[in-house]
Symmetry: C2
Subunit: 334 residues, 2 copies
């Protein structure tokens, strides 16, 4: 259990050669220093685990600098202010921040937002009403720009981002089709989330099953996976289709991941756009408002997989990379 004077933290201590492993991480215990003037201390309740973290473990050119070695792993958190020497925050405030893989966060308040948990549970600010939700909102509304009657497909459909994409597409009057791994996830995507169909890519008939699920072809595709799944959906794209490229988790361990038939981008006059939601801060207020209302009123459904204790974070993260989670992967820290 947590000791009030000790902050348990997880550091990145080595970079993966190929697959990430638990050896890349180390748990350390660090005494908490007294707060300085202007500082705030937060007891983190939940840590968010997200696929983008795998990219940060590498020391390669990407959209963000690599996670430094021997420092606390980056990550979004929600928690409660337990001590404040900053006029903008008081003990008891519930906050969202980027405190990383640790039990306590200490900050001058920058990048922290107070959130209202009256109608939206605290953990949802790491999911549908947080970065994953805004990611779904941006890719769908600003890149795919769905029109009623169109078919929108999303991979990793039961996940934190994918589940929101499909529900928003459905609300926009589209046929929403998910791709997920396993019967149980697919059943959830259709029966609970309300997608029109879901294709189990583990069933071994991805191309045929996708064809059956998209009788009118595909107009918009929200990509979280890459590789064979992207190849299969590309072959179903209609003329003037749009692809929002959000993630390629199947290649995050460094396997070469070619696109088999890029000529389809030309022959079908497709638009494909890669994006990172943190570069589009202008949409966050509108997106969070819409997503918050949808969650508070029960219209937007979501599911969480919760690992217990900071020490469970590495294994939970490795499981996320292999699709073992079901919905948003969190670590409960208190």
């Amino acid at each position: 259990m947590a000791n009030a004077n000790i902050n348990r933290q997880i550091l990145l201590v080595s970079r993966p050669q190929g697959e990430a492993s638990a050896d890349n991480f180390r748990l350390v215990e660090t005494p908490l220093a007294p707060l300085g003037e202007g500082q705030v201390r937060v007891r983190n309740h939940f840590l968010s685990l997200d696929p983008y973290m795998r990219g940060r473990m590498n020391d390669t050119k990407s959209y963000a600098p690599p996670q430094p070695l021997n420092e606390v792993m980056i990550g979004g958190t929600v928690g409660e202010v337990i001590e404040s020497r900053n006029a903008a925050f008081k003990a008891g405030d519930k906050v969202v921040g980027m405190f990383g893989w640790q039990e306590y966060g200490t900050s001058d308040g920058k990048g922290m937002q107070i959130v209202d948990t009256t109608h939206v549970p605290l953990s949802a600010y790491l999911g549908p009403v947080g970065m994953p939700g805004v990611t779904a909102w941006y890719g769908l509304n600003r890149i795919i720009e769905p029109k009623a009657g169109e078919t929108v497909v999303v991979s990793a459909a039961s996940g934190a981002v994918g589940s929101v994409v499909g529900q928003l597409a459905k609300a926009a009057g589209c046929r929403a089709v998910g791709i997920a791994g396993g019967e149980e996830k697919c059943r959830y995507v259709v029966e609970t989330l309300g997608f029109d169909a879901c294709v189990d890519y583990k069933a071994g008939n991805l191309r045929d099953d996708l064809k059956s699920a998209t009788p009118n072809g595909v107009d918009g595709y929200f990509e979280n996976v890459g590789g064979e799944v992207l190849d299969a959906v590309l072959a179903r794209m209609n003329a003037f289709g749009r692809i929002a490229l959000c993630g390629m988790i199947s290649g995050y361990d460094g396997k070469p991941l070619p696109m088999k038939a890029p000529a389809l981008l030309l022959t079908q006059r497709l638009k494909l756009q890669g994006f990172i939601v943190s570069e589009h801060m202008d949409v966050w207020p509108q997106a969070l408002k819409e997503l918050g209302i949808a969650v508070a009123t029960g219209k937007l459904k979501y599911r969480e997989t919760i690992a217990e204790g900071i020490e469970s974070a590495p294994e939970a993260f490795l499981g996320l990379l292999r699709g073992k989670n079901f919905g948003k992967q969190l670590v409960k820290l208190i």
Copy 2:
């Protein structure tokens, strides 16, 4: 030589298995029928040969229906009205049309435009002031949207489209870098067309040479080639780069042409868009006006490779697919 009563035509008589060959075409002689009421007869002066024609030879799903077998091959032409029973045209009018691979065209006037050859040579209406020019204009201005100071790269840079892309990019204040096959073409691209640099992809050091030619990376890429050239430029793209996908001539013979590292589209947040200029007729008037002025005033330079006689069209076309032409490939028909 042409006989005034006989129309020499080239038909597509079979579809290529792999590479296209001269056997796929046949020259036939067809007597000219008397004009009907409302009809116009044009003596074609030049036939345009373009890479898109290779796609039409296949019987596969693409943006346009396949060229029917045993009919005159599709193609853009310029010529002179020699007889008219249509009030909109008179003998002596210079016209642009889509009469295909034949010496004479007969039409009800639909799709024919009268052009002014006072300051712009007739053949230029098949090049910089025609479909290739508008293709360059659209991809550059509507997809790449270049800003002064950026670097724009174009493949097949000495060709009918590429040569215009680079000159327009240069006029927009960009660093213009071409990719072409062979020293002579590269010299022309830099010395005559005024690009800042040109990389000879046949020299065997494409990636290194491209790196040297683009010290600040690549912000906009106009793609005519695909395959290894696309892979090499992708690796040089800056964040938020734009790729206008116009052609993939290296794959037109049916070779599989994967994209090696599509993850770059995500990590660099690129936009890639395929387009076909005939689907954007709204831009043609503005584009043709600008291009016509640029050619008439000598600001926009271009080069032609001219084959003589309709019988030379198949070999000239096969040469175009292998990059044997230098600038716009035409067939002179009179």
